[in-house]
């Protein structure tokens, strides 16, 4: 299958605007620092990682909501960073965005109908009448009453608003949707409704998803392939089975072991890997492997001096660790010691 989206060496650095001193030094936040992946037509690629690792920034650069600092983005063969005017407009029709917060992303003074018709108006699609019909049809598609076009967001629950956000993204019949934490703010029972809806719509419209989330269980459920990010880099990339059933990077393994599973019996038997400290500051990321300050396997000076490349560990499965192998952290390295090892800040 052909790749619909190809991202190569994507970099996004933000100037530091806190404190004159740091910005004078030319310091930058290395939000995304050399990220490469592809997304095939019709598939769902998951981007997962802890807060601040650069997931949203990656998504925004792809959609040109942000201009990348460096790297190449190709969509259906076109060089996305070079697109101008009409071509950029057409690209933005094809690649839509769904946001996490259904409260903040919908204008409270607009009715659902106005919110949904807006992209059509911007792109000059259809007559007023046709637009209204399309809105009603789309509301029905996402499981809402078509009569709701005259109602306002505040009258609805989080799940219903997220449905409107999805309907809006679908109005221009995009090829791809970047979903940035679309279910993170929702309760489990509503979250399941929205996940099912996204899956049905993918089938119905042949959509391609870039699905951003920090919830590993949701990513596992919805994605075909998964990219795990840490401090602006992809540390592991592969099919969901490979990544979840045989993680090759110690960070992936730690993440998976840290998520409590909803099964008391199993949870009692599991050992969890406690990483020490917090994620370091992306203004001054650690040298060598960025994970070395928290990694239970790090060997010095190798890991603090040489950056491990993202290399193939199995067909279609890559990891960026000098010691990449399935379940790299042995049982005796798991456990509580790290808890009192002190935060490495």
């Amino acid at each position: 299958m052909a790749a619909l989206l190809e991202v190569e060496g994507l970099v996004k650095h933000f100037p530091v605007n806190e404190g004159v001193f740091l910005s004078r030094l030319g310091k930058t936040v290395k939000a995304v620092d050399g990220v490469s992946f592809t997304v095939d037509e019709g598939e769902t690629l998951g981007l997962v990682g802890e807060s601040g690792c650069g997931k949203s920034t990656t998504g925004r650069c792809i959609n040109r909501l942000l201009e990348a600092t460096a790297g190449r983005i190709r969509f259906a063969g076109a060089d996305v960073r070079r697109l101008r005017r009409q071509d950029l407009k057409a690209y933005r029709r094809d690649v839509q965005f769904i946001f996490q917060d259904p409260y903040a992303s919908l204008n409270p003074r607009m009715t659902f109908g106005e919110i949904m018709a807006e992209p059509l108006v911007i792109h000059g699609v259809g007559t007023r009448r046709e637009r209204q019909d399309r809105c009603k049809e789309m509301l029905e598609t996402v499981g809402l009453n078509p009569e709701h076009i005259h109602r306002y967001p505040h009258e609805f629950s989080g799940g219903q608003r997220q449905r409107v956000g999805i309907a809006r993204a679908l109005m221009l019949r995009p090829k791809m949707i970047i979903c940035d934490e679309p279910v993170s703010a929702l309760d489990v029972s509503i979250q399941a409704q929205i996940i099912n809806l996204l899956e049905e719509l993918q089938q119905e419209f042949g959509l391609t998803y870039l699905f951003i989330a920090h919830d590993l269980a949701v990513i596992r459920h919805i994605c075909d392939r998964v990219a795990v990010m840490y401090l602006g880099k992809i540390v592991e990339l592969g099919g969901w089975r490979e990544v979840y059933n045989s993680p090759n990077h110690p960070y992936t393994q730690s993440l998976l072991s840290a998520v409590p599973v909803p099964d008391p019996e199993k949870q009692r038997r599991r050992a969890r890997i406690i990483l020490k400290g917090d994620v370091p500051n992306p203004i001054d990321p650690p040298s060598g492997c960025r994970f070395h300050t928290r990694c239970p396997l790090a060997q010095f000076p190798l890991c603090s001096e040489q950056e491990p490349a993202l290399r193939q560990v199995a067909p279609g499965h890559q990891a960026a660790c000098h010691f990449a192998k399935p379940f790299p952290i042995p049982e005796h390295k798991m456990g509580r010691e790290a808890l009192f090892d002190g935060d490495s800040e």
Partner: protein, 345 residues
């Protein structure tokens, strides 16, 4: 001997301009020393209001305990004088919140804030209290505790603030620690640190924990007993294993089925609960879950089901929970795709 904490058919209502909000409307549980009660339920189901009522932190008006009782070691908290309540709070029963900034004062040093309750409740001198605060910070795994105690809250990371809050709550060696979503705002690797820390402290001090969360993984990890809340009511209460493996209420069934499976290789569609939770001002007649319940019958619309002990300490507020044939409809369901096709952890 009386149990550590008994909550007996508690009703806390808010009298607002729009009507009476039945935020906590029939909550019953007991908590023994050294045990953990997990409280789960969707947003707005009354989890925090229940906790705040136990702490006597809800202003009256607009709130009012309409009926029911809360007993600490056999003595009614509701009947206590304000002074006695204050002595209990922070000293015997302490609370930690989702957002540490709500209980940390930004203009005082962390150490001073932890020392404060020690001077108040334990009559320590300023110097003794400071030394105790530093020791507490060390116990919750803050490195260089002596220097860190001099920091202000904004100089701490999210995970460290949560640790500082735990230190503050532990200062007086409380019998009960109420934790309201203590890890919801944290990343999974930091959540793992905090959960591990709470378990470690509990083993050492024999304190009881009430763990409020919407994350069923967290309750599976922490809880001995579980209370499931829906629309202000406790709808199920029992041991963690009973609630997870033999749930007796259709809402619990729906919650468990909404979760993405973590253990099967075949990803079928999720089974969400249809619809939205009701407004607490206009509760539907009969069972509040009735309109969303896939198993509801005509009787459910007529009678408000009481919370009944079905199997020695396993309580359910479903009219049919005692009916083996009814429960079998859930246990033998085939709707859950992939159920039974377990492929190991």
């Amino acid at each position: 001997m009386a149990p550590l904490l008994e909550v007996d058919d508690l009703h806390m209502h808010f009298f607002t301009r729009d009507g009476v909000v039945k935020a906590c409307d029939g909550v019953t549980f007991t908590l023994e020393a050294g045990r953990t009660l997990g409280v789960v339920g969707e947003s707005g189901s009354g989890k925090s209001v229940t906790a705040m009522t136990i702490m006597r932190l809800i202003p009256e008006p607009p709130g009012k305990v309409v009926s029911g009782d809360i007993r600490f070691k056999g003595e009614s908290i509701l009947a206590m004088s304000e002074r006695e309540q204050r002595r209990l709070r922070g000293n015997r029963i302490a609370m930690i919140f989702q957002d540490p900034m709500t209980s940390l004062n930004p203009v005082y040093r962390i150490g001073e804030q932890i020392a404060e309750p020690l001077r108040l409740h334990k009559k320590m001198t300023r110097k003794e209290a400071w030394a105790a605060a530093v020791e507490l910070l060390r116990r919750v795994g803050i490195p260089q505790a002596e220097e860190r105690a001099r920091n202000y809250p904004h100089e701490f990371s999210g995970g460290m603030r949560q640790r500082a809050m735990i230190a503050m709550a532990l200062a007086c060696g409380p019998d009960i620690l109420i934790a309201d979503e203590p890890t919801t705002a944290l990343d999974v690797t930091i959540q793992a640190q905090i959960l591990e820390l709470m378990q470690e402290i509990q083993q050492r001090t024999e304190s009881a924990i009430i763990m409020i969360t919407h994350d069923l993984g967290v309750v599976a990890d922490m809880a001995d007993h579980i209370m499931v809340m829906y629309a202000g009511k406790a709808v199920e209460y029992g041991s963690a294993d009973e609630v997870f493996y033999h749930p007796l209420h259709p809402y619990t069934w729906g919650l468990l089925d909404s979760l993405p499976r973590h253990d099967v290789d075949d990803k079928g569609a999720l089974c969400p609960i249809q619809g939205q939770p009701p407004s607490l001002i206009h509760l539907p007649p009969g069972c509040a879950f009735g309109p969303r319940c896939a198993y509801a019958g005509p009787a459910c619309r007529r009678t408000v089901p009481p919370l009944v002990d079905i199997e020695q300490g396993h309580l359910s507020a479903c009219l049919f929970a005692g009916d083996a044939a009814f429960i079998a409809r859930y246990e033998n369901r085939v709707t859950r795709a992939g159920a039974g096709a377990e492929v190991g952890g």
